[in-house]
């Protein structure tokens, strides 16, 4: 059974792109686009990996991540954070919140796949 990834992102075209890439790499991809209900989706899916955008409608990715880390059954779940803001401050905030990997948009597809594979293998 393939590993599951939960993609929390609100841009439809980006969802499309990432879903396409990860599906081709053998992941079972679930998506969610609302920040407010993202935690419920995480709890429901119990994914092996979470790809999390920072700027989400309703709630920021950092806050969601902190709650993910607080929940016992997801505290170890690897999280790849994506942000369209490319400043150092954003990277620090992401790692502080508990992200395993941080990537800036736009990203190279190969990089994204490498990062996901690395997290899955860990």
């Amino acid at each position: 059974m393939s590993k599951t990834v939960l993609l929390i992102e609100d841009e439809p075209n980006i969802i499309e792109a990432i879903s396409f890439l990860l599906s081709r790499d053998g992941w079972s991809v679930h998506t969610h686009s609302n920040g407010l209900t993202a935690l419920d989706a995480v709890a429901e899916r119990q994914p092996d990996l979470i790809v999390l955008d920072v700027m989400l409608p309703g709630r920021s990715g950092y806050e969601i991540l902190k709650d993910i880390r607080r929940a016992r059954d997801t505290e170890q779940t690897p999280v790849l954070m994506l942000t369209a803001r490319g400043q150092m401050k954003d990277r620090e905030l992401a790692l502080e919140a508990g992200a395993n990997t941080f990537m800036t948009k736009p990203f190279a597809n190969a990089e994204m796949l490498d990062a996901v594979r690395a997290l899955a293998g860990a």
């Binding site: 609100d10 841009e11 439809p12 075209n13 980006i14 499309e16 792109a17 990432i18 396409f20 890439l21 081709r24 700027m55 989400l56 409608p57 309703g58 369209a84 803001r85 490319g86 400043q87 800036t104 948009k105 736009p106 990203f107 190279a108 597809n109 190969a110």
Partner: protein, 913 residues
């Protein structure tokens, strides 16, 4: 009335022989010798006063004797004549002053105290000082005093000349009427007196104007006068009449006894003499200015009446005996001279001559000192200071100027008297001048007493009263004194000026039958007082007048008794203590040390010489201001009361300092304001910087998001080979649409930047609102399910604006509704209405609208509202706001409309276009 006549008397031959022997040279020598003696007396007194061990100089006896300056040649010679003509009436001239001196407690004591406290130098100074230091008043009084005194001085010169002639030329028929001779006599006498006065009257420039030498000389002359009259009296009573009982018997039978007393004249004369005693400049000088100790008044209160009594004791006997024994037609004014002469008593006659000479000289000397002080202080110095612009400090050069102006003033006053003597020719005009003069200066009485006792008295009152009184005096007394037709035509005396009987000089306001003297005094002083009182009641005193009024009226509460001026009693130690407090110890010590070394004294305590005190005052004034420094030094050195003037000056300085500190405070407040403004600006900059960061970060996000999709799919298309054609076309479509989004974003950014920098070029056209809306609806694409409701009949509005930009705004608003209206069946209503010259276009949808908290933010750049999808530029409404503002309109969010509601309001097109 007294009468001094130029005509020499016809004396018998026996006496003529003697008189011929008595050469003019002899008399001249006696006079010169006498004046030399006066010089000596004055000089010795000055020296003694300077060395400081001459208590007798300051004795009450000297003071009392100096008051005898009241008894001039007019009284010396004239009293007998007065008695011959008017009986005992001559006594009134002595009763007035006697009453004033006996009642010194009420008026004189107050005047002395006020003068001391205020450093008063003359009657003009006293009155002007009381009424707010009014120089106008001072000048008025000075001029009036000069006008009133000049004829009086002329009278003295005349009496001396007359006695000279009576003495030296009695037997020579032609000689005495030689006018050149008598003029020369008068001139040389005047010059000698001027010289004496200049020498001893302007010796020093004391603050308090004391002249010990002069006072001593006057006292000496008082003794000579008294001795002369007593000697003649004794000679007459015991030598000629044969004893007291015989004299009394003669008086019984004499015609003098038959004179009746006229009460109104007596009252008028007593009042007049009392008033003159207080207001005559020379009396003010000796009574008030020259007094050393207030307690002398007590001595004088009995000693002066005694002196006056002695001097008038033998008047009646001399008059009676003269009337009987001398030939008819002999001038009774010269009885004191002609009686001893007629009996061959050369030395007695010489003594008598000296007595008259003393009376005349003392009057001229004191009067010219008093007048010169007034003229110099109130007329010459103010003019000099105005023209030189010099500061009002008496030091250095100014001192010399003051002395010079005093000296010139003395010379001027004496010469004025001489000129009057020459011009009047010593005729009948001079006869009444004594009383005329008295009445003139009596005009000072209302402002003097009013100023001393009534706080309500004002400057305007004093000036008005003086003007009225002086005018009436001139009209009713001074001008008529020259006799009918001399100045005023006889016609006027009978019918009044221009036939106005009301203003007849001797029957003002229709009051006839009064004695001319009583009439004039009554009206001048009476109306003076009335006007003074009324105007004072009606006018308001200035602050300075109020202060001075309080100082004068309540003088006994403000000053201590018997303050003495002791220039040498200054305590260097006290000065040192004060200086240290103000300058700081080291500077003060250095200053005192230098001064002490300069004086050749070891240590830190120099003698408090005037130079040192001036220097110290200057140093102190650098720290505390001139007035304060003066007051401080004055208090230690002089023991002087600090005058109101000083206090006012101190207050002025304090006010200046306060103003300065206020300015400083204002400046520091200004600085604080500037600092606050800078802080605010800085905060704004910081905010701007934060906004800029936020903006950049948002721009970055907005650019990266479409870029992410584009790059991802582009890489897939490039790298993956097994992508289906359907997928390929879908990906291409995404890439394409995201590219468009990117382009749109860049366009928006450019638009916004152009608008914000004000570089926009508006393409203003005329068009129908309906057309613009059509265009916008078409451009936004009817795609989606949004229904747009319009009322085309209301959209027929002509606009003059940039139609394309306006369409852009409408497109933005429509697409917002398309994107964010969350109703199941979204509807957008577009409504147009006219309000107050404006067109309002409302865009209201039926969605959930914008949360209240966010409503204020919707027009900010990149504001993403809760619940909105992240897509969309976030610049739309910001651009709308910019555009509408440029078009002269406004855009706002309308709360409470059910859904999101925006209102664009635009100015209506000018109908004329």
């Amino acid at each position: 009335m007294t009468r001094l006549q130029l005509k020499p008397n016809n004396w018998s031959g026996t006496h003529r022989d003697f008189i011929v022997n008595t050469s003019a040279n002899f008399l001249a020598a006696v006079s010169v010798g006498y004046v030399a003696l006066l010089f000596l007396v004055a000089f010795v007194a000055e020296q003694a006063a300077r060395s400081g061990h001459a208590r007798w100089l300051r004795s009450p006896l000297v003071y009392t004797l100096s008051l005898s300056v009241y008894c001039t040649a007019w009284t010396f010679y004239g009293a007998v004549g007065f008695a011959v003509r008017s009986g005992l009436e001559y006594l009134t001239i002595y009763i007035g002053p006697t009453l004033v001196v006996i009642g010194y407690w009420w008026i004189l004591r107050r005047m002395v105290r006020v003068a001391r406290a205020q450093k008063i130098t003359s009657i003009a100074d006293l009155i002007s000082s009381r009424f707010g230091k009014s120089n106008t008043l001072a000048v008025m009084i000075t001029l009036m005093a000069v006008a009133g005194t000049t004829p009086y001085i002329a009278l003295q010169l005349q009496s001396v000349t007359l006695s000279f002639e009576a003495f030296s030329s009695a037997g020579v028929v032609d000689g005495p009427n030689d006018p050149g001779h008598s003029n020369a006599t008068a001139f040389w006498v005047a010059m000698a007196l001027a010289l004496f006065t200049v020498l001893f009257g302007t010796r020093n420039l004391d603050v308090n104007e004391r002249h010990h030498g002069v006072v001593m000389a006057i006292a000496f002359e008082a003794v000579v006068k008294l001795l002369a009259l007593l000697a003649i009296g004794i000679f007459v009573v015991w030598g000629l009449a044969g004893g007291v009982p015989e004299v009394l018997a003669r008086i019984e039978t004499s015609e003098i006894n038959s004179w009746e007393v006229i009460p109104s004249r007596w009252a008028g004369l007593i009042f007049l003499s009392a008033a003159a005693f207080l207001t005559l400049p020379r009396m003010f000088q000796v009574l008030i200015v020259e007094i050393d100790d207030e307690r002398h008044l007590r001595f004088a209160s009995w000693a002066f009446p005694l002196y006056v009594m002695l001097i008038s004791l033998f008047v009646v006997p001399i008059a009676v005996v003269g009337l009987e024994s001398l030939p008819a037609g002999t001038n009774p004014d010269l009885y004191v001279l002609s009686l001893p002469l007629a009996h061959g008593q050369t030395s007695l006659a010489t003594l008598s001559f000296l007595g008259g000479f003393s009376s005349a000289t003392s009057m001229v000397i004191v009067a010219s000192i008093a007048l010169s002080t007034m003229v110099s202080n109130h007329i010459v110095m103010p003019i000099w200071l105005r023209f030189t612009g010099g500061g009002a400090t008496v030091s250095g050069d100014v001192r010399h100027v003051v002395l010079l102006s005093r000296r010139l003033s003395i010379l001027g006053v004496v010469l004025l008297g001489y000129a009057y003597y020459r011009i009047s020719g010593g005729g009948a005009a001079l006869a009444a001048i004594g009383l005329v003069s008295f009445a003139g200066v009596s005009q000072f009485l209302p402002p003097l007493l009013g100023g001393l006792f009534w706080r309500g008295a004002t400057r305007s009152g004093a000036i008005s009263g003086l003007t009225v009184g002086f005018a009436i005096w001139l009209w009713c007394m001074f001008l008529p004194s020259f006799g009918p037709d001399a100045v005023i035509p006889a016609e006027v005396f009978v019918h009044g000026p221009w036939g106005i009987g009301f203003l007849r000089p001797q029957a003002m306001f229709g009051f006839t039958g009064l004695d001319p003297l009583v009439h004039a005094v009554f009206w001048s002083v009476g109306l003076n007082t009335l006007v003074f009182t009324l105007v004072s009641l009606l006018s308001f005193p200035s602050p300075l007048e109020r202060l001075q009024g309080a100082q004068f009226v309540n003088v006994f509460e403000h000053s201590s008794r018997g303050q003495r001026w002791q220039g040498s009693a200054a305590q260097s130690e006290d000065l040192m203590v004060m200086a240290q407090r103000i300058l700081g110890p080291s500077e003060a010590q250095a200053l005192f040390l230098r001064a002490a070394q300069g004086q050749g004294i070891e240590g830190y305590l120099p003698e408090p010489t005037p130079d040192f005190l001036n220097h110290l005052e200057r140093e102190l004034s650098g720290s505390v201001g001139a007035a304060t420094a003066h007051a401080m030094v004055g208090q230690i050195v002089g023991g002087a009361a600090v005058s109101v003037d000083d206090l006012i000056a101190v207050a002025d300085e304090a006010a200046q300092i306060m103003e300065y500190s206020n300015q400083l405070e204002a400046k520091s407040e200004e600085l604080a304001r500037t600092a606050r403004a800078l802080g605010e600006a800085n905060e704004k900059l910081t905010q701007l910087s934060v906004q800029k960061d936020t903006f950049l970060s948002q721009i970055s996000h907005e650019l990266r998001t479409p870029m992410t999709s584009i790059r991802a799919f582009a890489e897939i298309l490039r790298d993956e080979t097994d992508v289906s054609g359907e997928e390929q076309s879908k990906m291409s479509a995404i890439i394409h649409s995201e590219s468009l989004r990117l382009t749109r974003l860049l366009d928006d950014l450019l638009d916004l930047s152009v608008f914000e920098n004000g570089q926009v070029n508006l393409n203003v056209q005329r068009g129908l609102l309906a057309d613009v809306l059509d265009q916008a609806v078409t451009a936004s694409g009817s795609g989606g399910k949004l229904a747009i409701l319009r009322k085309p009949e209301r959209e027929q509005v002509m606009l003059t604006t940039d139609l394309d930009r306006l369409a852009q705004v409408f497109i933005n608003l429509i697409s917002n509704a398309q994107k964010y209206c969350d109703a199941a069946r979204p509807v957008l209503r577009i409504e147009v209405r006219h309000v107050a010259g404006k067109v309002q276009i409302d865009f209201v949808d039926n969605g959930s609208g914008i949360a209240l908290a966010s409503q204020g933010l919707v027009f900010e750049k990149f504001v993403r509202l809760d619940g909105q999808s992240e897509s969309g530029a976030g610049l739309g409404l910001a651009i709308c706001r910019e555009v509408v503002t440029r078009l002269g309109g406004a855009i706002s969010y309308l709360p409470g409309q059910g859904g999101a509601a925006f209102r664009v309001s635009l100015p209506e097109a000018d109908k004329s276009i």
